[in-house]
Symmetry: C2
Amino acid sequence: MPLIVQKYGGSSVADAEAIKRVAKRIVDTHNSGTQVVVVVSAMGDTTDELIDLAEQVSPNPPGRELDMLLTAGERISMAVLAMAISDLGVEARSYTGSQAGVITDSVHGRARIIDVTPGRIQTALNDGAIPIVAGFQGVAQDTKDITTLGRGGSDTTAVALAAALNADACEIYTDVDGIFSADPRRVPKAAHVPFITYEEMMELAAMGAKVLHLRCVEYARRFDLPIHVRSSFSNQEGTWVLSQTAIKERKVEQPIISGVAHDLSEAKITIVGVPDKPGNAATIFEAIASAHINIDMIVQNVTTAATASTDITFTCPKTDRELAVKTIESLKPLIAFERVEFDEEIAKVSLIGAGMRSHPGVSAAFFRALASANVNIEAISTSEIRISVVIRASDTDKAVQEVHTAFGLDADGEAVVYAGTGR
Amino acid sequence: MPLIVQKYGGSSVADAEAIKRVAKRIVDTHNSGTQVVVVVSAMGDTTDELIDLAEQVSPNPPGRELDMLLTAGERISMAVLAMAISDLGVEARSYTGSQAGVITDSVHGRARIIDVTPGRIQTALNDGAIPIVAGFQGVAQDTKDITTLGRGGSDTTAVALAAALNADACEIYTDVDGIFSADPRRVPKAAHVPFITYEEMMELAAMGAKVLHLRCVEYARRFDLPIHVRSSFSNQEGTWVLSQTAIKERKVEQPIISGVAHDLSEAKITIVGVPDKPGNAATIFEAIASAHINIDMIVQNVTTAATASTDITFTCPKTDRELAVKTIESLKPLIAFERVEFDEEIAKVSLIGAGMRSHPGVSAAFFRALASANVNIEAISTSEIRISVVIRASDTDKAVQEVHTAFGLDADGEAVVYAGTGR
């Protein structure tokens, strides 16, 4: 019997009506002869409401307690979803992350999954029941304390559980029909992407596409687990995230450029006047790593010969900005830099496509498009399958639209993708 | 170092401000050199809101899932309370019932505590931290599923934990200054009771006094654990619940009558026309017990000679009324009774006092007081230290007030209690 893991996000279980609709979909899958394991996020705004409550009591709550608080969210949604399924005549049993065997490290607020031992889930399946598992949460291997996996953690729970159960696929349900070539709310002509490789999806996720979490795609890639991103509001096929080999097996032509992503959630931090001495950059980024801050786009400007010092710029989530600045300030006795500056009014815009590594003109065309939209570039970073720039936040819409059109991604435009000029 | 367990109910942690006030009280106790373990209920109306949510999805949710849902309530309050304490500079660690070692049977919605193994709580105390434990919940020994203890279960958690930790006392915080000789909201002259025996308190609890849960008092009695019921809004002494020996040691005179209780939460069920045959009553109450319905005041009327059948009446919580009626209906093929009737517009009014067993005139004076208030008695049941009657719900206030005055319990009246006429 085929086995799939279905993950439903907060918008799919926002209220009693939504939960009943999702329950119907799960029971339909079960009745069609497929074994189903469900992973569920907290209902709608529950998590935000719980964070508000914490803030009313303490400006800086301990991570252990914040995790304990936030995990109440999935506890509510999973129990109510199990009730709705039972009401349709099929037994459902809800399990916390801990009960489902999601073992993590003990970094509260952004724990990593170390192991998944889904003994109770397998038993429920063997009994013919539908297991409902709380996403986003686990239990620390050493302290036995409850942990959360951070933003988008429910996707990771779903994929990790699917891998541990040797499932045939992991379906990630959301409120859109899968992945688009840009955010459809900003680019009306954004086109639907039917297939995408793990690598491209990782770049999209890392560059701010909110549909799938980076760690979840990393996990799926490691176990070669097919992910199907689709809407809980329709029965349409969504986007399949697969290995390049699996895509070739399905005989699908891959476009050169798969999409444009943007991210408004990051802040830019610049350390001004870092003495140009070996080891300084290492000291800084070791301290940042110890504080568990995820950084991106490290740029070191050329050394000013006159001062023998340099400026180092990086981006990190706005929520980590305060901690990052404090962490760097604490290094002043060691490094004797001049000052730390930050800027939250930035956006990161990225062009992603596995085909671009063999098309050197892509960067030039990307910069040209930004220039014709009159958008100033503040920093640049590139990988094999991605180019990212930092720009003013207020320029985001015109930048994304111009690039989307320039690379022929518009749904109503040419179907064939742009291959770059000046090759 | 002395060790006390403090239990805070939902009204004491209703919102962020209330939680901060409770945190302050806990930290003050801790700083005064007393080890504190805290047991906390869900915030204010959280439990009712969660039940509403369940009802929107399923008219009859599975007990396992309802317990999973409701336990989110204490998870929220305990984490937020731990944050508020940390904010005052003292480490606090929250624990679910399962983490605190509260082991129960697997009767969802009204599980009984089998054992308490508070290893992690003891470790937290040894580390100088304040453990915050979720009341009302535990984990089933056999299924490992999450359970709840039923109405007032947090009191039981507190006392069971206090007994397991060999604490010096268990403080139950509420919104009133302890136990009164009647409900102060109905009887303005209700008097404060400084000391009461476990036995009297059990009768009061069983008869509808909401301040302490019956099982909690049973538990405290078994371990001879002093309970101090007091207000979280003041520093006044509340009511001490102790053994008769302990009260004598404190050289306190005990009154004959300690109070008047009333209960509007019960329904009256009458099985009409039960054939007068040995074993029928046993069959009925075995079935009721198997359905885990707590009943009270069983009254069997005299057999009508003409029909050789009898009527059996009992009371049970209104929430169990539907289940009770259904359970009895299912016995019809076995017992061939005539019909089942129920009535939810009833009240139970009880007079309680350890002294009454040696004062036979008390019942007569009780019935006389009800008669002079023009209150009709529908059923009577008595124990060594209690007399209860079933009356119309609409007569509750006048019945309670009249009895309270007749027995000299009014705070502004004579201080010495009434010893009964016609002895």
